[in-house]
């Protein structure tokens, strides 16, 4: 008996161990590794040229997402192969390379390039060949006139109307809501587009705009502009900046012993502005940050960790995942969902599926049934607090324990 009991016990222990192992291994066993001929997805990024620094974020995000997709079930059970070419930051090269991808390399699917001009150059090619093109970085939705082009970033169809109102809503919660606003913008098309919208919406809501200025993209000398901003001394400074322009402007203002009361920056380089003393309390546009509640979205923690590792390895100055990189993550999430959802690699079927369905992305649920295939707008406001970017608006999406601070 004892033996029998002992034998029974051993069997139970063994069975328990095997069961436990099986339970632990179940997701892997249920998830078949993709096999067969790879699905070739072609795209270009500006890996060299003046856009290279930002395109690098997209490249890292793509690498992570291809590993993610292939670690699941691939596309229709087949592994994904990314055919990435360098468009050298030139729209004309982007156009020719999309023609190469489609007509010579004969890729199955395409992904959009980075930045408005290459996207529009590539979109014309996609349209001629009826290819679905998902892109994440075109800031002027109305230019996306091709019915099989889809946005991965939730700008909404009229960000020049919706986002200024997000900012105005946030301003209205200040202890002393701003009554005047200086608007300064780069003449970069997507920044200028938003600046004009900001001006129109501010005036519509009774906020005076005593100064509206435009400067050439890439400007380095903000001395004269700073003097005019100081002279206007408005309650709020809205800057349609790119890259390091915000840092240069704030430095020029400091030299005039002027600190803007509240200041917002559209598309600045996140790292330099966050760590700069001038950048304290700066406000900025975003769609997502590596904090709660966003970190609880499916896959976000893992993707953010992988991104940090790869970005550090690539010596990126700001190795934290941000809205730019998340845009590319969302591109791949949408492509994966659409192909597997449509059960086909045919562009017509993929496009039809996207127009009818919603997709869970790193940005939340995305839909594509609005004007220019755009869905809901989800632009947020983040703020530099203790040299870190934190989402502060809307309140329900603010980082835990963080509040919008008026200067």
């Amino acid at each position: 008996m004892v033996d029998r009991v002992g034998a029974w016990r051993r069997r139970r222990v063994l069975a328990g161990m095997m069961g436990g192992a099986a339970t632990l291994a179940a997701p892997g066993l249920l998830r078949a590794a993709p096999s067969g001929k790879p699905v070739r997805v072609g795209g270009t990024l500006s890996l060299t040229g003046f856009l290279a620094q930002t395109a690098m974020l997209h490249k890292i995000a793509s690498e992570i997402m291809i590993e993610e997709i292939n670690g699941r079930n691939g596309l229709l059970g087949r592994p994904v192969e990314y055919v990435l070419l360098d468009d050298q930051s030139k729209p004309e090269v982007a156009r020719s390379l999309y023609e190469k991808l489609i007509t010579v390399d004969k890729v199955d699917l395409i992904q959009g390039p980075y930045a408005t001009a290459p996207i529009l150059a590539a979109m014309g090619v996609a349209q001629r060949y009826g290819k679905v093109m998902i892109q994440s970085s075109m800031g002027i939705p109305k230019l996306q006139t091709y019915d099989r082009a889809f946005p991965a970033t939730p700008f909404g169809s009229e960000p020049d109307v919706t986002y200024p109102n997000v900012i105005l809503d946030a301003m209205a919660t200040f202890p002393a809501p701003p009554k005047s606003m200086v608007i300064l913008t780069s003449k970069f098309p997507s920044a200028q587009f938003m600046a004009l919208g900001m001006k129109a919406q501010a005036e519509k809501r009774g906020v005076k705009v005593p100064l509206y200025l435009e400067y050439e993209s890439g400007n380095r000398d903000f001395g004269a502009i700073a003097a005019r901003i100081k002279e206007a001394n408005a309650d709020f400074l809205w800057v349609g900046s790119l890259g390091l322009e915000s840092n240069l402007l704030l430095e020029a203002l400091r030299k005039l012993d002027y600190k803007p009361k509240n200041h917002f920056h559209l598309y600045p380089a996140p790292g330099p502005l966050a760590v700069s003393a001038d950048g304290d309390k700066a406000l900025c546009s975003t769609f997502i940050e590596p904090d709660e509640p966003f970190m609880s979205r499916p896959g976000m923690k893992r993707i953010a960790a992988e991104y940090k590792e790869k970005a550090a390895k690539a010596n990126l100055p700001y190795p934290t995942i941000d809205a730019q990189a998340c845009g590319m993550v969302a591109e791949w999430q949408i492509l994966e969902a659409a192909v597997n959802g449509a059960g086909s690699l045919e562009d017509e079927k993929i496009a039809a599926w996207l127009r009818k369905n919603r997709v869970d992305t790193i940005y939340g649920k995305a839909r594509f049934d609005g004007p220019y295939n755009h869905g809901d707008a989800a632009q947020l406001i983040k703020q530099v607090q203790n040299k870190e970017w934190k989402v502060v608006w809307p309140k329900e999406l603010a980082a835990p324990g963080v509040k919008l601070i008026a200067s």
């Binding site: 890996l47 060299t48 390379l97 489609i102 007509t103």
Partner: protein, 623 residues
């Protein structure tokens, strides 16, 4: 069919095949890639028209290209023009802009070289700023997706290809035509020494303007087509600095002084840029392209095409020269000094700010005489030569040649009225062979009837031995060049070439026709100066210290040559410090001192004049 005919047939076949390539329905990428090759070939070739040929290094090509881009973008999207109808305007507006800019900057001597490069670059910034801050763009860019493209080919990419190809062929055709014309020859001379080119009769201002306008027109038309290719036009993308930088790089790599060189450079660099497009190798690829380009420029400083030409020329020289026709020598046309005044200078004054170089010189030079012009350093001799030849405009007074006022005419018009000059320090066109130097002078020299006759004459041979006849034994490549020489009004290219060969032989430079000036010694370079002056068939020849730096034997040789020149009927004014030559050669001597005529008369009498001795000679030359 000879080699020339075969190459022409080959070119026609290639144009036909390439023109209809889109009909073959190749993958669109090939149409696009070839379009981009054509695009860069056209842009770099158009840049070379002014900057490569004439040496006016421009960094502003993006301005003309950009104006063309925006003309097409605005006319199609805002005014509803058909795309093709915009292209002539896209070419015309940049050409007008170039004419406007050129009309100002080309008149200023100080705006040559790097200043011209910076000025053209600033023109780009100004144009970009205007476009950015006006409704032409305004900053938002222009999206052209709704502009219909004509169906010239089965596919849109094919249509763009065809338009790019047409512009490419037109650009190369224009460049070829320019190189083989008076315009091209004049531009090459401007490249080497603009002042000398003007003095040899090249209308430098007009030629530069023509080249600038042609260059800008091509760039503008290319921009018009490219607007459709890109589809979304932004100021930053259009006027970016990489456009002129690529264009310069392509032209320099291929050979900016060659009509075909920029095309080779453009094709090579475009192909290289596409050789490393894979995402995994992008950065390494760029580095490799950079290394290749640096190596090419280091090894082929003049560019690929000139290097190949030099190599072929060396191969040709290895073969025995074919029989060469004897060039007719010059008939002596010795005429006595007449009483007719050919050069009449009255009250000639020239001031440089507060410095008065000429203070009212009165001087007559009679037809057929040799007038020696002497005086201490700073007395105004060379200034007088410069004023008469048009290098400096007169401050006041008058200079007449054969009774016609030339005092404030441009130098090239004075040259065409029969006034030729040499320089104390020889100033040959350094990138032209001896033959090309002399052909240029013959092409642009005096327009009217000349005292020079053909038929027989004396020749300076090696070592200064005079002979009665000569032939022009020269390199076989001279024969090849013959058909490339531009035709001048009233004279064929071969007639001009024969005249040039004659004067080369006359000055003892036979056998050096294909040599570059750098390969000549000082003596030969001085004689090249004379050969160029003679080829212009001057009525009045101004020699500026032609004997300085020569050894005694060479001086004797040169004196004989000057006499031989006078024997052809030329009137000569020569500035000289060598008193032996002055006395031996001059019919009369004029002495300048402090910018004024100090003495004038027979050589020996003037040399004995105690006043002249005291201010200049220090002692009497002849007792």
């Amino acid at each position: 069919m000879n080699a020339n005919g075969l190459s022409r047939l080959g070119a026609v076949v290639a144009i036909g095949v390439l023109g209809f390539l889109p009909m073959a329905r190749l993958p669109a990428f090939y149409d696009s890639f070839l379009y981009l090759v054509f695009f860069w070939v056209s842009l770099s070739t158009s840049w070379a028209l002014l900057s490569g040929f004439a040496g006016y290094f421009s960094l502003g090509h993006a301005a003309f290209f950009g104006v063309g881009v925006y003309v097409t973008a605005d006319l199609t999207t805002k005014f509803g023009w058909p795309f093709l109808a915009t292209l002539p305007v896209a070419a015309a507006l940049p050409a007008l802009l170039a004419l406007g800019v050129g009309a100002i900057v080309f008149r200023l001597r100080r705006l040559r070289g790097e200043l011209f490069a910076l000025l053209t670059l600033s023109v780009t910034f100004v144009i970009a700023t205007i476009i950015l801050n006006t409704p032409i763009d305004g900053g938002g860019g222009i999206f052209m997706s709704a502009v219909p493209l004509p169906n010239l080919m089965p596919t849109p990419t094919g249509t763009i290809y065809l338009l790019g190809f047409i512009l490419c062929v037109a650009s190369l055709g224009i460049a070829w035509k320019v190189v083989h014309s008076r315009l091209g020859m004049g531009l090459f001379a401007i490249h080497d020494d603009e002042d000398v080119a003007e003095a040899k009769g090249v209308p430098t201002l007009r030629y530069k303007l023509i080249a600038f306008a042609l260059s800008a027109a091509i760039a503008g038309a290319v921009g018009g087509v490219h607007a459709m290719y890109v589809g979304f036009i932004t100021v930053s993308g259009t006027f970016e600095l990489t456009v002129p930088l690529y264009v310069v790089l392509m032209s320099v790599l291929g050979g900016a002084r060659s009509w075909f060189g920029p095309a080779i450079g453009a094709a090579a660099i475009t192909a290289l840029l596409y050789a490393f497009i894979s995402g995994g190798e992008a950065m390494v690829g760029r580095a490799i392209v950079g290394v290749i380009l640096i190596a090419a420029i280091l090894w082929l400083p003049d560019g690929f095409v000139p290097a190949v030409k030099q190599w072929l020329a060396k191969r040709r020289r290895a073969t025995p020269p074919p029989a060469i026709a004897e060039v007719a020598p010059v008939m002596p046309a010795i005429k006595p000094v007449s009483d007719k005044v050919l050069l009449e200078v009255r009250g000639a004054t020239k001031r440089f700010g507060g410095l008065q170089a000429l203070g009212g010189v009165d001087l007559d030079v009679r037809e057929g005489e040799i007038l020696g012009l002497v005086g201490p350093n700073g007395s105004g001799k060379t200034t007088l030569i410069n004023v008469v030849s048009g290098f400096y405009p007169l401050t006041s007074g008058s200079v007449k040649v054969d009774g016609i006022e030339i005092g404030n005419l441009p130098a090239h018009q004075i040259a065409r009225r029969g006034v030729a000059r040499t320089y104390q320090i020889p100033r040959p066109f350094v990138n032209m062979t001896v033959l090309e130097n002399v052909v240029l002078a013959a092409t642009f020299g005096m327009e009217h009837s000349s005292p020079f006759k053909w038929g027989g004459g004396s020749v300076i041979r090696d070592g200064g031995v005079m002979s009665d006849t000569f032939d022009a034994a020269h390199d076989p490549s001279v024969g090849v060049r013959r058909r490339h020489l531009p035709r001048r009004r009233g004279r064929s290219a071969s007639e001009i070439r024969d005249e040039a060969l004659h004067w080369i032989g006359f000055t003892g430079l036979a056998g050096k026709e294909e040599a570059l000036p750098a390969a000549l010694n000082l003596h030969e370079r001085k004689f090249l100066e004379l050969a160029r002056a003679l080829a212009a068939k001057p009525r009045l020849l101004l020699l500026d210290e032609v004997l300085s730096g020569l050894n005694p034997a060479e001086v004797d040789n040169a004196i004989r040559l000057v006499r031989a020149i006078r024997a052809q009927g030329a009137t000569i004014v020569f500035v000289e410090h060598l008193m032996r030559a002055v006395v031996e050669l001059s019919d009369r001597v004029a002495v300048l001192n402090e910018g004024k005529l100090f003495a004038l008369g027979a050589p020996r009498e003037v040399m004995r004049d105690p006043r002249v001795v005291s201010i200049y000679l220090g002692k009497a030359y002849a007792a």
